[in-house]
């Protein structure tokens, strides 16, 4: 039943929503593969600056056979940094979405279901966080954490997840509140089911439906936030990993000197990955959201007529 809720609409999708969804899937899968198999796909490591024999690649070299995307100011290969950048992006975003869900989902469930004073306080706190310009919040938190636990994937992920927890909380809570009033839930409670059971069996399953869309769209946003943090210098250091936003920041100084390859490729990578995730999210939304869903028009097939019993003629 659970799988069916997702798979059936996807299979039924027709026309534009189908293409949106599938292009999203293709692009996202492409980047996931890049990320997972980076060491196998990438010609060099992200911080490699010389060949095995010790010969340096050279700084800011234009694209060539050995370096299809050229090299950057640190003397490392741009293609390698783009590929490993996908890995960093995926790591951070998965962690961030995981953290946000870990905190936002249970809080939203409890708060929505039980209501009361805790609910009001939580709503207030979450609304405050939600109202805050997300980038500033992420910057301040990244800046704070960077001194305690150093700048790295974890710091970036935590900074980003703090920004998105309120969103998950809100959506889940609203969903829970509407589900809570449904008659079958009332019936279950009347029958004496414990809150835990009710939540688990009815509410959670219902709520889980909206999570994939939110998570995907949030992932897209998270990549942009990560790039922004990297651009401002609060992201991941180049020696610890490749991050597109940081590379873009160094590339800006290059652009004025006519060195376009250090900035164009990381920038395009960001655009592509975010577009892919957005298409995936929008596609899922189009396909799963009953309001927007357009069912495929299927031919009506009447059941086979049973053989008619012979009518006995009665003499008139």
């Amino acid at each position: 039943m659970r799988g069916g809720r997702f798979v059936a609409p996807i299979r039924e999708a027709r026309g534009v929503p189908k293409w949106v969804l599938w292009s999203g899937i293709v692009i996202t899968t492409f980047f996931v593969i890049l990320a997972l198999f980076a060491p196998l796909i990438s010609p060099y490591n992200f911080d490699e600056y010389q060949t095995a024999s010790g010969e340096r690649f050279g700084k800011q070299q234009p694209p060539s056979a050995e370096h299809p995307f050229g090299t950057n100011v640190l003397g490392t290969d741009v293609l390698a940094r783009v590929i490993y950048g996908a890995r960093t992006a995926l790591e951070v975003v998965l962690l961030a979405v995981f953290f946000s869900l870990l905190i936002g989902l249970p809080l939203g469930l409890m708060s929505g279901y039980f209501g009361g004073k805790q609910d009001r306080v939580l709503v207030l706190i979450m609304d405050s966080l939600f109202a805050f310009p997300y980038l500033l919040l992420a910057i301040v938190i990244a800046f704070l954490l960077s001194d305690k636990i150093g700048q790295g994937v974890f710091t970036a992920a935590i900074a980003i997840s703090v920004v998105y927890v309120p969103q998950y909380f809100r959506v889940v809570r609203n969903h829970v509140i509407s589900v809570r009033e449904e008659s079958y839930v009332e019936a279950a409670r009347a029958l004496g089911a414990k809150p835990g059971t009710v939540i688990r069996k009815y509410v959670l399953q219902n709520v889980i439906q909206s999570v994939p869309v939110i998570a995907t769209l949030n992932a897209a946003d998270a990549i942009l936030t990560l790039a922004a943090l990297g651009f401002l210098g609060y992201g991941i250091q180049p020696t610890d990993g490749a991050e597109w936003g940081y590379d873009l920041q160094r590339a800006i100084a290059d652009a004025g000197a006519g060195i376009w390859w250090t900035g164009l490729f990381p920038g395009l990578a960001i655009v592509a990955m975010v577009t892919g995730l957005t298409l995936l999210g929008e596609g899922l939304n189009d396909v799963l959201n009953p309001v927007l869903r357009r069912r495929a028009i299927q031919d009506v097939v009447l059941p086979a007529q049973p053989a008619k019993a012979p009518v006995e003629e009665v003499g008139v």
């Binding site: 301040v140 509407s178 922004a228 873009l248 376009w260 920038g267 655009v271 592509a272 990955m273 577009t275």
Partner: protein, 344 residues
């Protein structure tokens, strides 16, 4: 929203929301204070570390009172906020309110211009996409919206600078106005476009406009991309409404139906979503300001962050927090006035 809630009067709703806004502001203020005091580093080491001996640095830190108990500092902070005394920045002795006023005006000018651009881009395209759902127009429009939003504003800005400033030389690459114009301009409101009009200084007006085009368009495009999606979804939902069916049944032309009924109603919910975009705009403004050297409050915040000037940071973030709360309060009130179902 399921269940039978009676709709309360607008006044009750407004008062309730106002009453809620205050604790919200307090929570934000406390968050800001805690975050900053936990922050590493201090402005003295940031500025003079390495130039003075460690003993001299410590002596200066003590003289400046950075070692006082946190609780005392917290209540001082709250008291100052209430009296709107945000103090002076540590690294350049400017009253924080002056920073907010001067640089805030620059950011305001940028965000308003960007907002206008985003409306001009987002609404027409969104309407078209909704109207011609699933046609090539819709696909192109949606794709445009998605790709433009997916491009980080600093990437778009950097491309814009290369093309329009370096290669074509049509527009200046940074700043609010050229150096001489900035000096000549008689600033009263600090919104340079308005100031140049007020003093009838047309060369200055042209200069300021030229400097505003690239940053406003870059940021506006990105936000516009979000609007396309929002407007489109609203149009789709509206077009499925019963009254639309009724209008069609009455024999009204499709054009009539779409323009006079659907669009107007589709745009109303957009107003409420605009409130959410303000937070987005402010965040985007920081990045745009960094890219285009726009002396707005976002740039100043980054500069003060790098210098660990916690008084400045506190003041600026407090200002942002309060601003966002007020704006969302206003949006909610407008929303409630328009749609009584929202009030609780």
């Amino acid at each position: 929203m399921a269940g039978g809630h009676h709709t309360t009067s607008l006044r009750t709703y407004a008062l309730t929301r106002l009453a809620l806004a205050l604790p919200m502001i307090w929570i934000l203020l406390t968050m800001v204070f805690v975050l900053l005091r936990v922050a590493p580093g201090d402005p003295i080491s940031a500025a003079l570390g390495g130039r003075l001996s460690p003993e001299q640095l410590q002596a200066r830190r003590e003289a400046a009172g950075y070692d006082e108990p946190l609780i005392k500092q917290y209540f001082e902070y709250l008291g100052n906020v209430v009296t709107l005394d945000f103090g002076e920045t540590i690294v350049d002795n400017r009253p924080v309110t002056e920073v907010i006023r001067q640089n805030g005006a620059a950011t305001l000018e940028l965000t308003i211009a960007a907002f206008l651009v985003s409306l001009a881009v987002g609404i027409p395209i969104g309407l078209l996409c909704g109207r011609y759902r699933d046609t090539p127009i819709d696909i192109a429009g949606r794709l445009f919206g998605i790709v433009v939003y997916a491009a980080p504003v600093f990437f778009l800005g950097f491309l814009a600078q290369i093309v329009f400033s370096q290669w074509l030389g049509w527009l200046p690459s940074s700043g609010r106005a050229s150096p001489v114009t900035t000096f000549d301009l008689n600033t009263t409101t600090n919104l340079y476009l308005i100031d140049s009009l007020l003093s009838l200084n047309f060369p200055a007006f042209k200069d300021v406009l030229e400097h505003l085009i690239l940053p406003a368009t870059t940021l506006g495009l990105v936000i516009g991309g979000v609007f396309i999606r929002l407007v489109r979804v609203n149009v789709l939902q509206t077009l499925q409404g019963d009254y639309i069916e009724a209008a069609r049944a009455r024999g009204l032309s499709e054009r009539n139906v779409v323009w006079h009924h659907a669009f107007k109603n589709a745009l109303v919910p957009v107003i409420t979503v605009i409130g959410l975009q303000v937070a987005l705009l402010l965040g985007g403004a920081v990045l745009t300001e960094q890219t285009f050297n726009w002396p707005g409050i976002g740039s100043e915040l980054i500069r003060y962050l790098n210098n660990r000037d916690y008084i400045a940071i506190q003041g600026i973030i407090t200002f942002f927090a309060v601003l966002v709360v007020i704006i969302s309060l206003l949006i909610d009130l407008v929303n409630a006035w328009v749609d009584p179902r929202v009030r609780y």
